[in-house]
Assembly symmetry: D2
């Protein structure tokens, strides 16, 4: 931590600050420049438990405080230089495997979820996605089938062998969801729902953490740190587009975030081109780009008849479009040194 | 709802769409232009329960769908042209009253909360704020005193007669918070936590709903509709700054949102200059601006010694600064036709 | 300037960096922490002519460089603690005067500009605005009357005594505009058009510099420094709203920017509620808020018949609305210690 | 164009609007819904020369106006379904060719530009980039060598046969730049400098138009329309990152913009990973992603010694890094059906 003093700071204020730092046990390095005095604080911990940065910044004699260390540690690349690899019923997530998760936005019925599961499996997908609890901007929209939807997902897994990922939105549902799902999904609206992060951090299932639509890459790392600091190291990061001034697309897919998250963290990094674009016509190109930029996997929305979808129809791929995308993705993966993950071994 | 067809839409696609609309009971108005065919759909409900907009937009023959009615109703100005006025232990919120809520970011001890409560009351504040459950970007920061903090808030209310507002972050805490607080606060990170919105919608206490830092004004209205649609009509909107590219301030205070929310909704609209700026030096000017633009009240952070604050010190006012602000605000209120609200009648 | 070294920096890299700094004549202060080594560089100039920050940041052994001093000086508050006051034909801009500029987006004809000038003067405005060169997003829109429009503005000044402000967009037009106008306006699209900034910096007329719609407050200061560094100290800053994700309004009015610009700079700071909102219904409230937050003046769009305006009709006030706004503004100014500026003394 | 009337619109207002539309020669289609009346206007031109949308929107009886047609035509995909291919001294830009432009941010000396040109040519680049006129946020930074820099670029072309692209920032420099350069570059700050767009639209050289850092994809199309509407059809679009709240990277690379621009327009679409990331460590991954998503080419910053670069060192590739990137890009191009463009035929 470096503390930059105001030009107006008095000798007394400075001495009092230095005394306080020494009392707390920190080393102090004073550097008096022509226009500013700078205090280097040695020994400040990366986990700012005492909120020192804010406290010193609140002093009238302080212009600003510059943190030196990252505010997260366990998810940092330095903590574990080799990448994290997660195994979900035999499907490898991370490392040199490319893993594809696909399925409908929302579980609508037994038929549609099984039909979709069979189709995406045939095309080479590894994991089935499907929503049972759905966040909706409008209170009058459909909010998902709840536990009944979870049961249908589990049935589709039994039918096809595909492990299942589904969103959890409420701390009270974590236990229920854990009974049926193989991977928890934390949606973009809940990236900073710290109660929920702690709750899935105490569960013993992998968690896909979507980036908040208005969260910086480093805030996303801190959200992951919440989960990992509870003891659950199996976190998958997922860039799903951020909110910007652009209106042609539903979100702005931040491609930089893929390699940036990989240089900052050892966790696997996925992309969600469906939400990132909101437009079926752009999903394939963005999927190709994400894989070429190094994503460890994709999560994609597909629907037997997108125009009949209860939600997210405009961004859902038809079965034929999904098949076309899968055929196009494999050679891109190969060029960047990845292989399609092996299928699950459920049975 | 207006449906604009693709130039490439075939006669069959068009007929099939029209038939589908008629089957659903809607009136249809066809307008064939030189380059586009447009379908006016008559009788579409403002609460798009069937998600028709998305479903029709997912059709390959449709270029886009333009909604005509607002996706919220109960919070809309048309539903209740006169403004909502809420009464909290005798303090008027809304209408021509100006209501000031003040206190520390976080309840730290019995002494500090009582001392702060006495001071803000003396300066003319009406309601005591203070956090017992705190969202923190870092998992290693202080997360609040929990129920112990709620008890201290209630004690400070007993001491001073100031009603109490405090944040609730977890659906599981709503009942506990309701036992101690007079007003629930939903923070910016939880504006789209729909489970939580429904839960406070079922409680019978007023709710202050902060705007999400990346939420549009109309999404904010829909979040308020979540609460109101559960039967709780006592919602206070609060603009607390949005996230933009600006880095000099912690957030960007969107002044437009004050009159915009008032033309869209009948609910009272507050401002939070502390979080909107993140800088003590800017709080007074932004407070004056918000009141002059028509805000029904302010929520402000103060601390007996900001540099000792566990959280938000840089944006907390000292007791002297808070007093100065209160003296400056009263004449602004008068100029815009508001009077300081009457104090609470707790005893 | 503080240079934070990579944990991986070798002894040789560090020595080579220190030698380079010393060769350049800088003092060096080395601080070796537990996890990072930090180099304090003493004597670095506030005007980074050699681009040292970027150059050192490009070194592989450097993690990042933290600048200590602001990248602007002449416009900084420290350079001239009292505020700048500009005199335009007897109208005071800055200090304790509140100055109102008003008029149509675009000069459309002799009648309309004279009629508007007479009306705004009668209501108490001090300066006439009107566009002769207009930026339009579409190449097919009206681009202004050019020099003919400038002549009409000058005629309206002759008729009413109101000094004139108008936009200049092209370095080649600066000389022509200077012949007719009293104040140059640099629009938001040109805040970073450095050729144009230098050109008006060499002219001897006041310049209103609108903030770029995607420019930070400190980039705005640097744009002002471009003008001032050419010798023209008469710069008026104007916050006109920034681009964000919000779509209900045309821009987001950043109220923080008013006091922030005033704490950073000695230049007068205006607000443009017409562009900031894009909606006539919000202009009055935002004007009141801007003045209460300390703005030195407003620039407003009015039109004899907004629905007939060639441009910006939806955000233009009718004559009656402008009169109402002027009546409401005066008492707000008084409350914050400002007086309406005296009228111009042209004759 | 569809006009949605206010619920409060009177019969007289409606009749007057309809009469006005008919007088202007438009067909009118009235649709009276339960809560709103909607006017379909038939025959409205895609080039809204009369600014009808704004004018009708300014009417008190109008709630909003929904445009149906795009505000650009000549650059639209419908106008020319096959993609535009541009030939610069034998180098193909657009179509199935992948074209790489590379070189330093700024021309610094004869040696460095020739050395760089030789290196990038050896690695397979097709076009040499280099700045002679440089936009700098600070007035005290280096602003480029001007015409002397242009001469050095031309010499480097003579030496190596690589055509040259360079930025033009001032309408007064267009003629001079045209004497030396093969392609004009319009930088992000000037995307909405309409005088400059018109000027290069009248020149007969290809133009690379970078997307404005706060411009939507459709505003970018309109900027291109400015150039094309002057008769210059050889425009290359370039996504270079937009400004968002993210601070880890210099800009946010909007990958969606690559396929989106290609579905909207027939013009070639490039990517600029150097500016999009601002970080050398991310350039390769983003380059791979852009090509896989369908970009027709890349423009990249390289420097013989990035740490000695006058500008943009942190985002410039070293010679070895550029070579590595070129080796990695070729197989990605192949997978998406593109071939490296043929080298120029200057001699």
């Amino acid at each position: 931590m470096i503390i930059i003093l105001q030009p107006s700071a008095t000798r007394e204020e400075r001495e009092s600050l230095l005394a306080d730092l020494k009392t707390k046990g920190y080393g102090v390095h004073l550097s008096e420049g022509v226009e500013r005095t700078i205090v280097g604080v040695i020994g400040t911990p990366e986990r700012d438990k005492e909120n020192l940065i804010e406290r010193y910044e609140a002093l009238p004699c302080v212009e600003r405080v510059v943190p030196i260390l990252k505010p997260y540690k366990l998810v940092g690349r330095a903590f574990k230089p080799e990448g994290t690899v997660i195994n979900v019923r035999g499907v490898q997530i991370g490392g040199s495997a490319l893993c594809i998760m696909a399925g409908p936005c929302t579980v609508e019925s037994a038929e549609m979820i099984v039909e979709t599961a069979r189709h995406v499996k045939k095309c080479g997908a590894h994991i089935l996605r499907g929503g049972a609890y759905k966040p909706s901007t409008s209170p009058y929209s459909f909010h998902g089938m709840g536990e009944a939807g979870l049961k249908l997902l589990a049935e589709a897994r039994d039918e096809t062998g595909l492990p299942v990922i589904t969103e959890v939105m409420d701390t009270r549902d974590v236990e229920t969801v854990a009974q049926y799902a193989d991977i928890f999904q934390i949606g973009t609206r809940n990236m900073a729902n710290y109660s929920l992060l702690r709750e899935v951090g105490q569960a013993r299932k992998p968690v896909m953490l979507k980036r908040g639509w208005a969260s910086t890459i480093e805030e996303w790392m801190q959200a992951a740190e919440y989960i990992v600091s509870q003891g659950n190291y199996e976190v998958i990061l997922c860039e799903r587009g951020i909110r910007t001034f652009e209106t042609y697309t539903r979100n702005t897919f931040d491609l930089n975030a893929i390699p940036a998250a990989q240089e900052l963290s050892h966790l696997p990094v996925f992309a969600d081109p469906s939400h990132a674009t909101g437009k079926r016509s752009l999903v394939k190109a963005v999927s190709m780009g994400a894989v070429a930029a190094g994503a460890h996997g994709l999560i994609l929305e597909t629907h037997p008849s997108p125009e009949m979808a209860i939600k997210d129809g405009p961004q859902s791929l038809s079965p034929a479009q999904f098949e076309e995308l899968m055929l196009a993705i494999a050679p891109v993966a190969e060029v960047v040194g990845k292989q399609m993950a092996q299928p699950a071994q459920v049975f």
